[in-house]
Subunit: 460 residues, 3 copies
Amino acid sequence: MLDRDETRSATRAGAGGFELHGFCRSLYPIARSITGPGVRETLAHVARHVPLEIHEVASGTPVLDWHVPEEWSIRAATIRSLSGEVLVDFAAHSLHVMGYSVPVSGVFSREALAAHVHTLPERPGIIPYRTGYYARDWGFCMAHETWERMRDAEYRVEIDSTLAPGSLTYGEAFFPGEEEGEVLVSAHVCHPSLANDNLSGIAVATALGIAAREAGARRRLGLRLLFVPATIGTIAWLARNEARLGAIRAGLVLTCLGDTGPFHYKRSRQGTALVDRAVAHVLGGGETPHALLPFTPDGYDERQYCSPGFDLPVGCLMRGVHGRFPEYHTSEDNCDFITQAALERSLAVAQAALDVIDGDVTWVRTDGRGEPQLGRRGLYRAISGQTTSAAASQMDLMWFLNLADGAHSLLDMAERAGVPFARLQAAARLAEAAGLVARVTVSDEFIGDTPLGAKDFPHA
Amino acid sequence: MLDRDETRSATRAGAGGFELHGFCRSLYPIARSITGPGVRETLAHVARHVPLEIHEVASGTPVLDWHVPEEWSIRAATIRSLSGEVLVDFAAHSLHVMGYSVPVSGVFSREALAAHVHTLPERPGIIPYRTGYYARDWGFCMAHETWERMRDAEYRVEIDSTLAPGSLTYGEAFFPGEEEGEVLVSAHVCHPSLANDNLSGIAVATALGIAAREAGARRRLGLRLLFVPATIGTIAWLARNEARLGAIRAGLVLTCLGDTGPFHYKRSRQGTALVDRAVAHVLGGGETPHALLPFTPDGYDERQYCSPGFDLPVGCLMRGVHGRFPEYHTSEDNCDFITQAALERSLAVAQAALDVIDGDVTWVRTDGRGEPQLGRRGLYRAISGQTTSAAASQMDLMWFLNLADGAHSLLDMAERAGVPFARLQAAARLAEAAGLVARVTVSDEFIGDTPLGAKDFPHA
Amino acid sequence: MLDRDETRSATRAGAGGFELHGFCRSLYPIARSITGPGVRETLAHVARHVPLEIHEVASGTPVLDWHVPEEWSIRAATIRSLSGEVLVDFAAHSLHVMGYSVPVSGVFSREALAAHVHTLPERPGIIPYRTGYYARDWGFCMAHETWERMRDAEYRVEIDSTLAPGSLTYGEAFFPGEEEGEVLVSAHVCHPSLANDNLSGIAVATALGIAAREAGARRRLGLRLLFVPATIGTIAWLARNEARLGAIRAGLVLTCLGDTGPFHYKRSRQGTALVDRAVAHVLGGGETPHALLPFTPDGYDERQYCSPGFDLPVGCLMRGVHGRFPEYHTSEDNCDFITQAALERSLAVAQAALDVIDGDVTWVRTDGRGEPQLGRRGLYRAISGQTTSAAASQMDLMWFLNLADGAHSLLDMAERAGVPFARLQAAARLAEAAGLVARVTVSDEFIGDTPLGAKDFPHA
């Protein structure tokens, strides 16, 4: 239930000098991995738009069950014929070298080289993406047709890389809200030249940060943006912030948001958390092709946020789904595969979901009971029996006032009434201006001595 | 699951000298509004059949967020040509004058009059129904073809009405039961010459009262009948009875029960209250065309009973739905639109629902556990393996005894067994006569020191 | 979700010298009833394979609402022509005499005899099964065509039976487990020459006992096998074990397991008990044609176990359903109606359900939170991006580790992941061997001072 207006407004918010597809293009050539200069350069781009705090976690640092690995730097890599012809060159495409390849220099027989070559024989024109973070191995990825043409007995192989103690880098931006709680938005920054996965997520998260910066202090909940290397980066962040995770009311992992397919939302492990309901509401109503997926323990960093013990209310918003689109983890996931319009629509959906989460407050009738007289407050059509074009919003107001009993949040109401969240928000503003309702604050709900009586059984 | 027998019995109960359609015809000409002599005359008709207590609430009395309005009396209203020809006459149809029209007397240009004329241009032969209770305006309702024929430059307009301090009138009948709780039946009495909405509801409620009077003291729960002006009347009643609302175990608003369409039951705001389950059970089983509708905050007085803070378990039983049938709020909603057979069937459904609610008690095996030996009590077919025509009721008895654990009411059992409520009631009588079960009283359930242990969490 | 391997293993377990169909054939001729030598002879057959404790309950003993009846012995019964020709002979088929027929000896007119003759006129070639335990009557069951051929005026009738104080007999075997709880398997032993109902159930229960004996002490829960006369035998057992019923965690009534139709599982009265979920899981996945039936208070001994007050978590596993297959309770329910293959498959299903129940333990991550690093433990494919044939079990392990939070049992996991229980069991073994998880014991869950915090609200 995303109004056209909301789409425009979200796009506008992100449009102040920031062009989503252009941002992806500027990041595309950078050779990223889970550590190293590529991540730092990427974060520097983001930091031009969003106030980003850069964190470095030293190699070897224990983080939960893991250790931060050595830092990997790659400067050059080639396969040449013995006559000196360059056949495969990392400078031409960052996918050509398997991530975390150890340095190598020497002449290899074609047979020996073959054990280090990754291709897609059934799709001979494209380069696959491979990593071997913990394998202490090296490898080249190339089009199968390139490999087929390489028929010499021996080749000269050079990988000028470093695998050495250093640090893991991630970026974090926080926009405080009026209340203690916060909403997490997370995008992984460890993939090299792959546009949908995940320059699209980085771009949308950056745009959300721009909008948050422009919105100033008007937000109820804090917004925390994370730009992290997948898995180990997220685990490092969780380990370093374990005591503060209770503040996270909702979260979204953003990825694969630039393709033109239908939306996919993978629910949090909890399944019916606020974020799950908010995204389902925003995508619902029939205008937005989409599918809601159950949680599974694979995928992106939602699996870390939703790991046992943490079990945070974090879902994953995608268009194309991890591993299910043909361009996934290949050289075809490039900037031609993603579009500005798709990115804008993704931004609008993400922004609308954050707006629902932020606006999901609870109201109670100041009188405590009964249907108020709208007419004397100018909130009712004067002569009953006439159908007016305002009938819909009249009904919205009646839904709001009927459910403003301190037990229904605005999203509860929107779900029950089957209308867009923003319309019940508008009804709430009308009713508040007329003195008919008061907001129920968190302390009323959970701490205070109120008739809601939810103190002992907050989940009942 | 309404047996043919039940239909006949309910019809019989209401048939003792009381003819539903004839009662509607006798009420049809009366010019009702939310206050005034029309309501009093209508209640006087009801009081001939049901012991009715008449309440008058003075104009200006604050009732919840509202105030009782001035009383409106209408004696005559006409539009005449300047030559004296009567073109529109309230005496011909009570719909001709907008409810709560202020008095007016004078000559108006056609153009000036037009602002006070209500028609249905797309249905030129029929008169619409309009009110303006709080508008301090006046108006005439007429067939559009009448208005089209009126081509004079000026007309003489007379409305002989009074809008002055007086009182709001409603009628209330109470039939006590053996227990403290009570069931509410409410019909609005403020519509002028409109048969389905709501002379049908008034007639069915009156017939229920006749049946209750005849049933004497055999009912478990009290039955309260309300004949009230819609909205303000109901709000006045709620305000004046606020301390006693806790006694209401279930309630039904009755309206639009005379047309021949399928039944519609609009659930209470709670959605799964006893009344919701009882009506669904009575309408279920496939023989009665019907639809169950979710609660919405518009409609009839159920919206007042179900307003926040009160949230009473009150649903609305209809055939045609508020605003959805073409005759709604027009001169076509007359006594030809409703039929005796439809009214009788509606009465049977309402009576059956009340019977389920009244009979929904809980039983417990006197032995506490186990399947009793039916054979030695003459409750089992003597030679197993033979199929007898009593197999169905044998199964009813087995369902009853299996679920007579103090945790299932008879309606719980009927729902689980998928059989009519009355058959489980019959099984209960058999089992009680055999000393196999004892009734669980409310005090056992909610107050006593029993293994049911529901004292602290009655809603758990 | 029953793997082919599981079928084989269960069959193997029961195959150690025990042949299901042969066992049914050896029991078929025995004239069983709810008491008497036929039951004892049947239990003696079972006791050759399973360590069976034989219980005798004296006639007249009060058991719940019932009394143990007199013991019935039948030695011979014939109908002869006055010329001495034997027309109906109990020695030829145990169904020929109505169960609990009193002794009779004399000459009866055809008309007088007719009142004691039971046939199936519409299926003239087959003998029905009739009993009259509490009727103090006598009767013969025969093919209708036999009766049609009997056109003499008088017949000589002899029933050499005894109905006298004695006892009711049942057999019980118990295989202890590591924990206090136990699983009940119950088969009725009171039907005479009827193969599917219930020699099949006796045979499968016996095979489960053989498997349990061979499995030794490796089971978590105790397994209790009951071979009881239906209804009165079960009631006697319940009455004599009332104080110990709390130990029953799950139970299955086994009957009609030899026909070749689809499986039917009738849920316990609770409806979602562990046994209900376990059987649904085992039958699910699409490979096993089956239907899940709701509880009803008729059928077999599950109705006793599930009677009010007891309400034990006991369901009923069948292929053909009680009363719904044409051979039911007739001479056509013979050893040709059941097959070895069907019995083996039934055994496999029952064994798999018991294995799920026994293996349904709860695990918790030793670290308390987070996704562990599988790679350094050899539990992850070394180079990501490669699809391997072990992907499925990789995913099983990830599901297991994600849900090993102390709040999900293995069956919870299998249901959520949609994979066979055994695969999550395998994942649990891998994870336990790697030190990643620890088992949550019952005392941790319900008694100890653990972070699970379930002490106060064990059902929350």
